[in-house]
């Protein structure tokens, strides 16, 4: 809008050093340039330092023979395999302990969080005591207590502590029944899938009827019954049981059969679960308390049962508050799993440090390790954000 017509409003262009548009671009250029120069300086130092040691930045070593053993691995691995394969083993171990940890920590955390709100005074105080003690001491100290002071002091294999359900605990670790897939497992899985499809379809019908204002309870229930029927019927029909449990049997020197979880893994998992559960308990408590009292009173006034009030009124609203902080607790658990090195579990970080030492190439290795952790974090938050979008209220 030029106002050249009015001499008194003549637009005078400010000099460039006072022109906001120019300044904005200039400031950004300067910052970007400074950052670029800084990074270039560091990389220059790096290449010089590596050159002096006769190294060059690259990932060629990933194809070389690793030459070190890894204590436990979900996939076959031996010292003759490559560094790349060793890295994959570390990654799988990290993912495994994180995934199991997240599930168990959520279960324990929800239980403790609900217990803190219990009308039973003693129960809520015990839960509060647990949360305060665990949250105010470092995870690493807890891991050392569990590993050195508890698990390594357990009785020898011969005098293993037997827990109900064929679970044994001794110095060598935790021995649990291991699932064994039978030859008919595939067939049973197909039948199970069919049952699941029917259950989902029934739910969809129920939801549609509910939206149309017609009674819908039966359909959801029928779907669930169909699923159970398919699962049980399929199990009987395929003949040989598709899934059996191999029980650990005490031997002379060690247990045979079953699933052996090493002391390191058990310590790390227990530490992560106990620590994270205390934080999740606080998240859950906060979420439930964030539901307004009026909502509860209204539900009671409408004659909803105690269970229906929780299921239909409290949880859907609490979930909205819970999911974002829960996400960051899951991320913390995955990141804290890197403390595995303190108890000797071969996770991503531990395998990474071994690789860094052996190859003499710490920089590429740690870049790779950090990049992988970053990818795990981003993937987790992406998944949780998708879930978060589902539970958030749809506002018009």
């Amino acid at each position: 809008m030029t106002q050249a017509g009015h001499p008194e409003h003549q637009h005078v262009a400010p000099p460039p050093w006072r022109d906001v548009r120019v300044l904005r671009v200039a400031v950004q250029m300067v910052v970007l340039l400074a950052v670029a120069i800084g990074i270039a300086y560091l990389i220059n130092n790096l290449t010089t330092a590596m050159g002096e040691r006769g190294l060059s930045f690259g990932y060629g070593f990933l194809d070389r023979r690793a030459g070190f053993e890894i204590g436990e691995s979900p996939i076959p691995y031996s010292a003759t395999d490559t560094y790349g394969q060793a890295f994959i083993v570390g990654l799988l171990n990290t993912l495994f302990v994180s995934a199991v940890g997240i599930v168990l920590a959520t279960v324990l955390g929800v239980l403790v969080g609900v217990a803190r709100l219990s009308p039973n005074w003693l129960l809520s105080k015990v839960a509060a005591g647990y949360v305060e003690v665990i949250r105010n001491t470092p995870l690493l100290v807890q891991l050392f207590v569990i590993y050195f002071a508890v698990l390594l002091q357990l009785p020898a294999v011969r005098d293993a502590i037997a827990l109900p359900g064929s679970i044994f605990l001794n110095q060598r670790g935790l021995f649990v029944p291991g699932p064994q897939l039978g030859t008919t497992f595939g067939t049973w899985l197909v039948i199970l899938g069919a049952g699941l499809a029917i259950a989902i379809a029934a739910r969809a019908v129920a939801a549609r009827r509910e939206a149309a204002g017609r009674p819908s309870h039966r359909f959801g229930l029928l779907g669930a019954l169909a699923f159970i029927g398919f699962a049980v019927g399929g199990w009987i029909l395929v003949g040989e049981p598709p899934l059996t449990f191999d029980l650990p049997v005490p031997g002379r020197f060690n247990f045979s059969g079953g699933l052996a979880l090493s002391t390191s893994f058990t310590a790390l998992l227990a530490g992560l679960v106990i620590y994270t559960a205390a934080f999740i308990a606080e998240v859950v408590r906060g979420g439930i308390q964030a539901v307004r009292r009026g909502q509860l009173e209204a539900a009671r006034a409408l004659g909803l049962s105690e269970g229906d009030t929780l299921r239909l009124v409290v949880f859907p609203q609490a979930l909205r508050v819970i999911v974002p902080p829960l996400t960051s607790q899951y991320l913390n658990l995955a990141k804290n799993s890197s403390l595995a090195i303190a108890v000797g579990y071969p996770d991503l970080f531990k395998v990474g440090t071994t690789m860094a030492n052996q190859t003499g190439q710490p920089v590429p290795v740690i870049v790779l390790v950090m990049g992988t952790y970053l990818a795990i974090s981003l993937a987790t938050s992406l998944l949780m954000n998708l879930y978060n979008r589902r539970v958030q209220v749809l506002e018009r």
Binding site: R24, V27, Q28, M29, V31, L32, V35, L42, N45, L46, T48, A49, M50, E52, S118, P119, N120, W121, L122, L123, V126, E132, V133, R135, N136, T137, P138, L139, L140, V141, Q142, F144, V145, F148, A149, Q153, K335, N336, S338, L339, I341, A342, F349, T353, A356, P362, V363, I366, V369, M370, Y373, L374, S377, L378
Partner: protein, 397 residues
């Protein structure tokens, strides 16, 4: 013949009614009460029996000096006493001048030092140290009384706090060729190193975090992208990897003639790490400032910098104080990770003590002691942060 007599009313007050309401309100509740009582009894009896008869507490008392200051030279220990006296005095004064919110912290500090005095009294480190802790614990209360009498103006106290940080650091590290001979950071250890790592970490990361938070909300895309990338990158990786990078990789990135010692490298790593978390806290505070205030400042002709300094930051930083106390607590706990790169902070020195032949096998004693020290410090701070939250009226204003 029926008579409409009502049953006598059940007691609704008194201990029996309280028991009925809070412990035995239903079958499930009663069952839980019984279960929890059993659990508590088992735990308390188990721990009590171990702590009173089996535990070898001499491992802790014999090595108390190592736990507190590591291998800091004995003839220079007065410098740490002086730093501690400054801390005690300032805490006491603040408790008097600033009022209730800092009082719980000061009381906790005094109590903690009284506990240490008791511990040293039963150990073999000497009566002088017991006296030192008693004097410190008392100084907190003296300071509180002086503060309540308004003997020190608020502003002077704030300045004194800011001054105390470099003064303490210089006292502890010293300078070669001065009456304060340099004490290499490889000799710092125990609780001293833990507190220094956490305190320096949070203090240095604060300005960096504020800049990153402002950068992330900047209208300039270059600033926004750089800040966001830094914050998300750091928050996406574990602290151990950053410490490892600072320990092993930093020498690669610096020119050969620059050497930074290990403790400083760890401090740098902790600072860079916590800056990203400070930034996210501060961003929360920035978002809480209504846009109307920023628009009003612009309408008054304030530049972006002035708007931030005079309008936005004072309100935002005030709102995030409790969150930053929480961050400080987790940072204090996270300093234990430097054990993994081989530094001798409280937990690391505990591991070193366990390697002594006469301490062999005393895992539980050492770790319980280390855990208890952390618990006392962190619990006191978390309680103070709750009070701070209600005193500042965050969320109710």
């Amino acid at each position: 013949m029926t008579t409409d007599t009502l049953a006598p009313p059940r007691a609704s007050i008194g201990p029996v009614a309280w028991l009925r309401k809070n412990l035995f309100s239903s079958v499930v509740s009663s069952l839980m009460t019984v279960l929890m009582t059993g659990l508590l009894l088992a735990v308390v009896i188990g721990i009590g029996q171990w702590a009173l008869s089996e535990a070898r507490w001499d491992v802790v008392t014999r090595n108390l000096r190592l736990f507190l200051i590591g291998q800091y030279p004995a003839n220079q220990a007065w410098r740490i006493w002086l730093s501690l006296l400054i801390l005690s005095g300032l805490s006491g004064l603040s408790a008097g001048v600033f009022g209730r919110t800092t009082r719980s912290l000061a009381v906790a500090l005094s109590a903690f030092q009284a506990i240490l005095a008791g511990l040293t009294a039963v150990s073999s480190v000497g009566p002088l140290i017991v006296v030192g802790f008693v004097v410190n614990a008392a100084l907190v209360w003296v300071g509180m009384v002086a503060g309540l009498r308004r003997l020190v103006p608020r502003r002077a106290l704030t300045i004194a706090w800011f001054m105390s940080i470099p003064v303490t650091f210089l006292l502890v590290s010293g300078f070669a060729g001065t009456p304060l001979p340099a004490v290499g950071s490889n000799l710092w250890g125990g609780l001293l190193l833990t507190v220094l790592l956490a305190a320096i970490g949070i203090i240095l990361s604060f300005p960096l975090g504020v800049l990153l938070a402002l950068g992330r909300r900047s209208a300039l895309p270059a600033m926004r992208i750089l800040s966001t990338a830094y914050i998300e990158l750091i928050r996406g990786v574990p602290l151990v990897t950053i410490l490892f990078m600072a320990d092993i990789m930093l020498p690669f990135f610096l020119p050969g003639e620059i050497r930074i010692d290990r403790v400083m490298r760890a401090m740098g790593g902790i600072t860079l790490f916590s800056a990203a978390y400070v930034a996210e806290n501060v961003r929360g505070g920035l978002q809480a400032i209504p846009t109307g205030q920023i628009e009003a400042a612009q309408a008054l002709g304030l530049s972006t910098a002035r708007t931030n300094i005079h309008i936005v930051l004072p309100q935002a930083l005030r709102a995030v104080i409790p969150a930053n106390v929480g961050l400080f607590i987790s940072l204090l706990k996270d300093t234990t990770l430097v054990t993994i790169i081989g530094l001798m902070e409280l937990l690391g020195i505990g591991r070193a003590i366990l390697a002594q032949p006469e301490s062999l096998g005393a895992h539980l004693e050492v770790y319980v002691f280390v855990g208890a020290v952390f618990f006392v410090l962190c619990y006191a701070m978390s309680q103070a942060s709750y009070r701070l939250e209600s005193a500042l009226g965050v969320g109710t204003r």
